[in-house]
Symmetry: C2
Subunit: 417 residues, 2 copies
């Protein structure tokens, strides 16, 4: 399946992906999803918020078991963040079909819209709208870098922006949700394990800082006559790092808009997006308050997601099922890909029993659903470098196969209950 999508939205110069929500590349990826669903005889539905659902069985009669992820990417992102969860969902279904498994419950594959928020600034737009934590009026008014409103972008894509909003009917179809994702750190590398399970998602948020000054000529305006917003922005970048270190959280300015943005013009406005996360919500809040106070910028909160603890029972079942798959693979002599252990090269032997259970600093649609009361869980697949949101993001095929097998075992068990 990778072959059909690996070129879509790829930047030929960098190898990175540009899969903004509702871009031509995203629309092609959605079409690919439809075709994969049709090939397997699944019933495809697009909900009012643009999320895709491919069902075997009718979830309106009994809530089903759902797996899936997203197809959009950050800008210049890697191939795995999102698509690995979708491809693995179809592969797990194929594995179950090959075994002749007949589910007692409806089984669904979900593709959530605009998980990264690369274009409109708000991550997990599709699942946030679905669960009602993102106000549809606010969503419709979000603008991209070209000034296009999401409402207009949806209309041009043939969707009805008036239909956005909490969708209890669709949400009621989801009895449980399991998302497979490439790990976005080196926790599994350090544990010497090919797959793991999420315990919790850190509280995290995104804030827009607008530094206002006065646009002017870069050559003729004396230093003392300037009001250049690039200077307070620079001071805030340095202070954010220092404050994050002090408070034990992480803080990043990764997106920036400078207006007018000409080399020979002093900026009139620097807009910068702060991403901040940590194990302790109060520490994250304190960092943002400190920066808002010291920067002099106008600060707007674009998103805030409290800590999410995944369903404990589901998490433990998933960890046991994954552990059994890893143990079976090892005893079959197909020891999961070695060589991705700590720097000294000696990967510790994977532990017997359940796979590692880890917290994560990354937000996911599974976290949004969990916060809305849907029993949810996540499987992580080892990432040798830990690098993510970059073309260097990677997962070995053998680890991906173990992830699919663990996902299939979990779905099988959930569909029997």
């Amino acid at each position: 399946m990778w072959g059909a999508i690996e070129h879509l939205g790829r930047d030929g110069r960098t190898g990175g992906y540009l899969r903004d929500a509702w871009s031509p590349a995203d629309l092609e990826l959605r079409e690919w999803f439809r075709q994969e669903a049709a090939r397997r005889g699944l019933d495809l539905r697009e909900d009012r918020n643009g999320n895709l659902w491919a069902w075997r069985g009718d979830p309106s009669r009994r809530p089903g078991v759902v797996t899936g992820s997203h197809l959009d990417s950050v800008r210049q992102g890697g191939a795995f963040d999102g698509p690995l969860g979708i491809v693995s969902a179809f592969a797990a279904l194929d594995l179950l079909d090959a075994r002749g498994f007949a589910p007692d419950r409806p089984l669904g594959i979900a593709c959530f819209t605009d998980e990264e928020g690369a274009r409109f600034g708000v991550p997990c737009t599709g699942s946030r709208l679905l669960t009602g934590v993102l106000d549809p009026d606010r969503a419709r008014g979000l603008t991209d870098d070209d000034g296009s409103r999401l409402a207009d972008v949806l209309r041009r894509a043939g969707r009805d922006p008036g239909a956005l909003g909490r969708d209890d009917e669709t949400l009621g179809h989801v009895g449980a949700f399991v998302e497979l994702h490439v790990e976005q750190g080196r926790g599994l590398v350090h544990a010497g394990a090919p797959v793991g399970v999420a315990s919790a998602i850190w509280p995290h948020g995104r804030w827009r800082f607008d530094f206002r000054g006065r646009a002017d000529h870069a050559g003729t305006t004396r230093l003392e006559d300037r009001d250049d917003p690039m200077l307070p922005f620079a001071r805030t970048v340095l202070r954010a790092r220092e404050s994050a270190r002090r408070r034990g959280v992480v803080a990043t300015f990764g997106r920036l808009r400078v207006s007018p943005g000409s080399a020979n013009a002093i900026p009139g406005l620097v807009s910068a997006w702060l991403d901040a996360r940590g194990g302790d919500a109060a520490a994250v809040r304190a960092l943002v308050a400190e920066l808002a106070e010291s920067s002099g910028a106008e600060v707007g909160e674009e998103s805030w997601t409290p800590a999410v603890d995944f369903d404990a029972a589901l998490r433990d079942r998933l960890a046991s099922a994954a552990g059994a798959v890893v143990a079976a693979a090892r005893s079959a002599g197909r020891r999961p890909s070695a060589g991705h252990g700590p720097e000294d090269g000696s990967a510790p032997e994977p532990p017997a029993g359940p796979v590692p259970v880890l917290p994560t600093g990354a937000g996911h649609d599974a976290g949004i659903l969990a916060a809305a009361g849907v029993p949810s869980a996540m499987v992580f697949v080892r990432n040798p470098t830990g690098i993510s949101h970059s073309p260097e993001e990677h997962a070995e095929a053998s680890d991906c196969h173990l992830g699919v097998a663990a996902l299939a075992a979990t779905l099988e068990e959930l569909c029997r209950s």
Copy 2:
């Protein structure tokens, strides 16, 4: 004439202009120039580098007197920087025609291409190519923010990029060049004068700083594992201001490209453009060397223009001609627009004799031609706020009329010699 172009390339939200070279707005402005030339029976030529020349008389028989400026803008720029010089050129010709003036020498109006360099990063591209100080291979390879090469942009606009380069034939047509421009500071406000003349252009240059790091996930990458190029960039912004103050020059980071540019990704690359200028070339050079050394960035020089002293004889004739126009206007009781003097509101009486002669920190095509040995000069029109490269840039109509009259008087005198 303003009415026909004031809407072209204007951003409806900000009132600022977006007139990138070879953009649809720029192509419309060029077409407007052709029509104004045709209406006056001028002979229109486009040279190999995309500059437009509207001639009365044949400059291949005897070098002519040329006036003009440019039509492109910085992003979110004002209405006057560039177009005022073109509109005033046509208006001065109309004034001479109304007086029945018959020039002894060919008289031309020039429109230089891509003076601001907003799109491809190199200012005065048209005049630099014409005079041979910009290598045509380098020009062809310049890319805009979308990754389009100038060569391809020219081809799409129906031009031949292979023809770019030094053009002695066209340059030989220009016996003298006078450019009228809105002032980009408050020198004339402080002098209480509606118009002035340029003495010199400061040495100035533009450098690209590439700060390289490692793109990574903003939520899952520990602070100690990060290589975030936004931090050295921020330190360099602050150091540039401090160094500029210490050295008595100006330095600005007004254009920035952050890759991947997603709020939830640590940047892998921050590219920032430094604009630096000052009365003393060595001080500007020392600032750039200091920042290149301390920043750790890869630094490339995109342009460098040594100090330009305008032709002294031409400058003095222009100052006297302008002074006579101002004096005549004053004695006719049409005292040039008051109320733009120093803050206390008491505009000093304009001095008798020549108008003020001022240096400028801004680069201009007139400076490029002067450096190439063409006798050149500039007339400045008062800018009440001094703000430039911004929608707030302004000049009063009465001051503009005096500028046109001064320009017409100078052209008349030059055409008689």
